[in-house]
């Protein structure tokens, strides 16, 4: 069975996860936003995707050091090229996975 303590933990986690996802969607969609905010939000996706991606490619989370000689980073270079040339999400994912599988074997 599920204990009351465990339920309290996941309900608390669920609430603090849901609120930041929910508040902007219900409040910002009802208002007209100032133009500087719209411009700023327009740059957020490129910035946030890069801020998630680059540390995952070049830094070793265990040792907290930057290392460019990692399969994650090396494979990212052809994967970027394929994404730019084909503009195909599915194709990029498949080729990226194949290259990473190979890199793990041979690097």
């Amino acid at each position: 069975m599920v204990s009351r303590e465990y339920l309290a933990v996941i309900l608390g986690m669920g609430l603090v996860t849901f609120l930041p996802r929910w508040l902007p969607l219900v409040y910002l969609t009802k208002r007209s936003l100032p133009s500087w905010l719209v411009e700023w939000l327009d740059f957020i996706p490129a910035a946030i995707l890069s801020a998630i991606l680059l540390p995952a490619l070049v830094s070793d989370s265990a040792t907290r050091s930057v290392d460019l000689w990692r399969p994650e980073f090396i494979v990212a270079i052809p994967t970027f090229l394929i994404a730019i040339l084909t503009k195909s999400l599915g194709g990029t994912v498949i080729v990226g996975m194949l290259l990473f599988g190979l890199a793990q074997k041979f690097l």
Binding site: V9, L25, L41, T92
Partner: protein, 238 residues
């Protein structure tokens, strides 16, 4: 579609395309969630959680990295407050993502927005945002995408908890599915030179910050700063 078809037919045809469009957009996310979901299930089971408890967490929380952290904290006997506070910090970045998505959802149905908010993850955010920009995308398709990804996460985490140690989660380069997806979605977001500068600044700043400060708050700090630099550069260019 043939113009001879009745209104009723085209209505159900529309529903079908919404469904298949949403599910098609979700497949790279699902592919990436599978190994992570299985890995999470295995880890949670080792930490003493039952498949039911794992499934409940995936339904109620639905946040990959926070769930991993919570399980290790539970195993270490951490308090309710510290687990919830950590979850809040780890998931605060979704506040930014929902704000960026809100620009495309002006005056949308409140109830649908709430259901949509539940499914905002790094991955669904990235996919939906590039789709919304493509214009032929609507909230219904986005909801299908989110819940397809959500269902994949719930099923694979429970499967991992039941017998994940027998499933080869690291085969076929699956570990790279989400990274490759992010690479392509980042490319989709680059719509000019200022976007390149913004992305490069955010990435390098994030790498530096991730070395200096614990946790993942580097994502929020780096992207907010880089986006502000983008706005300034755009003003100067005018």
């Amino acid at each position: 579609m043939s113009p001879m078809k009745s209104k009723k037919d085209s209505g159900s045809g529309h529903r079908k395309t919404t469904l298949s469009r949403g599910m098609t957009a979700a497949w790279p996310i699902c592919l990436g969630y599978m190994p992570i979901g299985l890995a999470f299930g295995v880890l949670a089971q080792k930490a003493g959680l039952s498949p039911l408890e794992i499934g409940l967490m995936s339904v109620i929380v639905f946040a990959g990295s926070a769930q991993f952290i919570a399980v290790s904290m539970l195993a270490a006997g951490a308090s309710l407050f510290s687990i919830v506070a950590t979850t809040f910090m780890v998931n605060l970045r979704h506040f930014l993502m929902s704000s960026a998505l809100a620009v495309f959802l002006k005056n949308a149905d409140r109830k649908k927005l709430s259901f949509f908010a539940y499914g905002v993850t790094d991955e669904s955010f990235a996919v939906n945002l590039s789709k919304f920009r493509d214009s032929r995308w609507d909230l219904n398709s986005a909801l299908i995408t989110n819940y397809t990804a959500n269902l994949t996460w719930i099923i694979t985490t429970v499967l991992g908890g039941v017998g994940g140690q027998f499933i080869p989660a690291h085969a076929f380069g699956l570990d790279y599915a989400l990274i490759a997806m992010f690479i392509c979605l980042l490319v989709f977001q680059i719509r000019g030179f200022i976007y390149v500068i913004t992305a490069v600044t955010a990435g390098i700043f994030a790498v530096f910050l991730s070395m200096l400060i614990p946790g993942n708050s580097y994502i929020v700090i780096a992207s907010m700063t880089a986006a502000a630099i983008g706005v300034v550069l755009k003003k100067k260019g005018r």
